[in-house]
């Protein structure tokens, strides 16, 4: 068992200081369980965000996602609040910063410090190009003016990476990134804004920064003047994958909770788990969790193996995975019935997880910004099939090339190597038909319909692309690894239905569903998690 | 609690053995064989949902030409009890 999972203990144990009961009580007070952050300090979670070369433990991004899972499985507020945003800030510096900046931030994080990342302004949402927070060049440095809002850890961060307007020509060179030591700023020209009250993720301290003529030295620039968008868009490729991956822990926990309930609860003379609808819902949610994991795993490994196309994969992952997870939680809530609505009792953890899942990505990259990243790339990606992706992208545990952020590109080359997996190794007929249809529709898409004013029909193409990428991930992963019986069959069938609505009734897969349900039960009783890696977990079914 | 309206029926043929006929209908709802239905066991024992059991009144209307309260199967919870009631109504 991982150290974190062990330290956190069984969430269903009422006496556990890191159990659901304590976490829910803390949530009521808009904080996290007392001592939980100390556990993460002791574990040195920040080291996961710092590259090995700088003294940390960040080597492979898919491993990072797995290491964060026990935290998000426990409490999304804890994971986000402790500082996944330190990673988001750090990525920009690892990629574009000077050696001095890299070492300074690495040491700060390794010493337990926190970094905020300041992209977001309330009036601009995900539209970075029109950000108003500005850095003006002066003779002896830069002067900052404006606000960054809804920023995680702004109240207590030691450092911040800020996305600032430094030019006004229009275009991609108008912004720059700055790394600032918040303790060095002049209190008269800089202040931390009050905390926002939030309706979900209540334990997360979201606030902001306000600068009024605040001077910082030139050395605060990360990379060159005007390189902000460039660096940010590349670091997003990593953070989008990671943020999508954090949601896996939430569905994993939710699925366990509902399974536990279904095995315990009796209705109409039998347990809920014996009702066909409940059983199918549990098996379906499990299949979708594994599908989401396959996409996250493939996309994170692609950062290493296929960096040139990673921008598309990261955007597709951040587009589809939160939706898949949210839909699965919704379906599970129907099985849980009234208890998903309660903030107390044995199953109250589920309702909190369900509440916290959708806002997890808010302020980071919403669906529309991912769609707008994908849309202009589709015609190139689908123009021809590339060479099929190397096995390393799918094979769990296979050695990965070192993560080289400088090899990430903003625009994918022609020919998608992941989709080539579908062509090269055969797939569900519905998936094959959907790929052919998408290819034809993309070929017919006028270039003028690929920008911010894209039509809804054009944006729909990006959803279909993401679902096909998930199908490719499922196919590839199942080909190269031992996976639960029935999963690939059920997963591809579900993706095909998502891609192409049909008047025919959904195909039934009793054998696949039965096998998956049996596997789910087996994992629940033997202390295994529900993701592809079957990580050991500490949680108990009802006696 | 159950009352009937007698309506004239044009095309129905009353089965000779109403109990056997009912057992056949119940069996079809349960997706089982009529021979397995104990005529004196409450339908609920077979797990026949009490609301679903209301559907029997449609079969009765179609086949026997009797309009009965939907709750017939609640008030006469076994096949024999129902058959006895229906026999009396037809007579």
């Amino acid at each position: 068992m991982t150290r974190l999972e062990e330290r956190f203990g069984d969430p269903y144990n009422a006496d556990n200081p890191f159990g659901h009961r304590t976490i829910l009580d803390a949530d009521e007070r808009s904080t996290v369980a007392e001592g939980a952050e100390a556990v993460l300090d002791e574990f040195g979670l920040n080291a996961e965000f710092v590259p090995e070369a700088l003294g940390g433990r960040l080597v492979e991004v898919d491993e990072l996602v797995r290491r964060l899972r026990p935290v998000f499985r426990r409490d999304a507020s804890l994971g986000l609040g402790y500082g996944v945003t330190s990673l988001m800030a750090g990525l920009n510096v690892w990629l574009g910063g000077s050696d001095v900046q890299r070492k300074w931030l690495a040491d700060l994080l390794l010493g337990g410090g926190k970094a905020s990342v300041g992209y977001h302004e309330l009036d601009r949402g995900n539209d970075l190009t029109n950000n108003e927070f500005a850095a003006t060049r002066t003779e002896d440095g830069l002067v900052l003016d404006g606000r960054k809002e809804v920023i995680n850890n702004a109240a207590r961060a030691d450092a911040a990476v800020l996305f600032a307007r430094t030019g006004g020509k229009g275009g991609g060179r108008d912004h720059s990134l700055l790394l600032v030591d918040l303790h060095q700023l002049d209190g008269g020209t800089f202040r931390r804004l009050p905390r926002y009250r939030t309706l979900g993720l209540r334990g997360v301290g979201l606030s902001g920064f306000e600068f009024t003529g605040c001077a910082v030295p030139d050395s605060a620039l990360v990379g060159d003047l005007g390189q902000g968008s460039d660096i940010a868009l590349r670091s997003f490729q990593v953070s989008r994958c990671v943020m999508a991956g954090t949601g896996l822990g939430i569905l994993d926990a939710g699925l366990f909770g509902v399974l536990r309930f279904a095995l315990e609860r009796r209705l109409y003379g039998q347990t809920v788990a014996e009702l066909p609808h409940a059983r199918a819902t549990l098996a379906g949610a499990y299949a979708d969790l594994l599908t989401a994991d396959a996409l996250v795993t493939t996309a994170t490994r692609a950062l290493h193996v296929l960096p040139a196309t990673a921008s598309a994969y990261a955007a597709a992952t951040k587009l589809l995975v939160p939706t898949l997870l949210e839909e699965a939680m919704n379906a599970l809530s129907v099985v849980l019935g009234a208890r998903f609505y309660l903030r107390e009792g044995d199953y109250a953890g589920f309702g909190k997880h369900m509440r916290d899942l959708p806002p997890l990505g808010i302020g980071h990259a919403g669906g529309i910004s991912c769609q707008l990243t994908l849309l202009p790339q589709l015609s190139r990606l689908l123009r021809a099939l590339g060479d099929p992706a190397p096995a390393a992208v799918f094979t769990a545990g296979a050695a990965l090339p070192e993560l080289d952020l400088s090899r990430l590109r903003l625009f994918a080359p022609s020919g998608d190597p992941l989709l080539a997996e579908l062509a090269a190794h055969g797939t569900h007929p519905g998936i094959a038909a959907a790929l052919a249809k998408l290819t034809a529709d993309v070929a017919a898409l006028p270039a003028r319909d690929t920008g911010v004013a894209a039509s809804p029909a054009a944006l729909d193409l990006t959803d279909r692309y993401a679902a096909l990428l998930a199908a490719a991930s499922v196919t590839g992963y199942a080909r190269h690894n031992a996976v639960p019986d029935g999963w690939a069959e059920l997963a591809l069938s579900r993706l095909a239905e998502r891609l192409t609505p049909s008047a025919a009734l959904p195909a039934t897969h009793p054998a696949a569903e039965g096998a998956l349900f049996a596997d789910l039960l087996d994992r629940a009783t033997t202390g295994s998690g529900f993701c592809l890696d079957r990580d050991p977990v500490h949680r108990t079914l009802a006696q | 609690m159950t009352s009937t309206d007698t309506t004239t029926s044009t095309s129905t043929t009353v089965p000779a053995d109403i109990a056997q006929w009912l057992a056949g209908r119940v069996a079809s709802y349960l997706d089982t064989d009529a021979a397995t239905i104990d005529l004196d066991l409450p339908l609920a024992e077979y797990g026949l949902d009490s609301v679903y059991a209301l559907s029997l009144c449609g079969d009765i209307e179609d086949t026997l030409g009797l309009v009965v309260e939907p709750t017939l199967a609640w008030d006469y919870p076994t096949v024999n009890a129902m058959a006895e009631f229906l026999q009396a109504e037809i007579a």
């Binding site: 029109n130 109409y268 808010i362 004013a453 | 009490s50 609301v51 559907s55 009144c57």
Partner: protein
Amino acid sequence: MRYGAFAEAERLEGVLGDPGDPASVFSTAACADLDDADGFPTDVCAVLDGFDLARLYVPAEFGGGLVDYQDAVQTMRMVSRRDVTVAVAHGKTYLGAVSAWVGASREQAEKVGALVRSGLPISWALTEQAHGSDLLAGGVTATRTGSGYRLDGEKWLINNATRGGAVCVLARTDEAGGPRGFSVFMVEKAKLDPATHSPVPKQRTHGIRGADISGISFSGATIGADDLIGREGTGLESVLKGLQLTRTLCCALSLGAGDHALGIATRFAAGRRLYGRGLTELPAARHRLATAFADHLLAEAVSVVGSRSIQALTGEMSVVAAVVKYLVPTRTEGMIASLRKLVGARSLLRDVLEDGAFGKVERDHRIVSLFDGNTLVNLNGLVNLFPILLRTADNATAPDTDGIRAAATVTEPLAPMQHKRLSLLPRKGSSFLLALPAAVAEVEALAADDDALAPLATAARALRTALDGVYAAVRELPAVPVNVPTTSFVVAQRLAACLGGAALLQLWLRTRADALAETGPSTPLWRDGVWPTLALDRLLASVGTPTPAPQAHYDTAYDVLTAQVGSGRLTSLFDHRLAEATR
């Protein structure tokens, strides 16, 4: 056009005032504060009592002011559009009393009517901790004594159980249980020995946080024989009939929540600039709003026909209620979730946009698909009706065309309610389904003379095909009532969509002439079949036969939506000025 059912609603709006005015008792700001504190909306309920809202909970025949159920729906919608919590907290008394309307003697019903009119909150105690929706597993017992009954056991997750002055309790009167083993009692707390009952503490909830969702425990509470509603053994029957009414009326909660969410999102979009232009200039954003509005109009149309059907097609309410209660809350949930993506970070923040009302309404509204029979229970109810619906379709049973006309012509007065005509089964099937082929033919005939109606005719034909597909699927399904297979639920969802579509087509066919004769902000929706084409687009997509409406129809809907929200009117098929109306 104007819709007569809004008369009371308009009066109530006048009393309640602009919800955006923080000085008003029933303001968005006040409701948000109460929500933070899990506080019961006592002051707001007092205002509603001052309005004597409870008179709409008592049918006229039993001494109240409830003549047409549609009026109660539209009036309660005005409460819900401000705060679902208040609608749930106050409207609950109708649920508490409904067993009397459907199952009691006249004398008894009049007594309950007087109780409600006295302002006493009444709650409806059906569920128990270990059983939930499985009512026949209930363990609360009523044991006969010399002069009455003795109540024992606990009811749990009961709205207003603690604050209510009376509790309508479903209790086991036959040890063996079964459908004739339960009875309903009207238990007035003031008449009980205080030592024999105790409240089970309020449960904290994610939404409707202020509501009193608690329980009540009885131990040897003695009640009189005259507290039994109807006869012994009729409990399940009166509950099932009562649910036919309450499940239909629940649409008021969804419509109000939908009005609220659409209003917030539309106002937000109007003021937002992204990517160098107004958000509403982005086609994707406009389409999201227009699609949400289409979903809302669909929900409203089904609700209008459903609530009129209570009086017009009383004997068919078992099927109509299940369709309304499944379709309206789930469509509204989906619509709010979609709008959340437009509203973005503000849906998470308590103090940035309209007092955090968007996040609150999404949370609050989730209760609607949960209580009073959740999504699965309603779909299961439809599965139970498959045999009779198929049989009546195969027999070509004649639909009740007078009933359909009355249900779908909103300008036509409704016949007085006769609660005794409620039936556990739609004996003659569903008139809306049976009349669908004729309705489609009618649309086709209109389209033959008017090209603008071609998209509606296409959608109507697709709906008929979808219904044929449902019948074919039902024929193939095994009859397994005990463990309903998953496929049956899918078929039930499609059946609900078809019935909803059939009902809304009737609404357009029967009401359009009157709607077009009157000019108002909503008129463009009624021209060229705009709204039914959009609503069918949304329904047909959900049953796997996408039939996209023309972009021009979405544009029209978008224009009407922004005009209605911009002028403080209800987001609706009808013209209804809200308290905040500007012109």
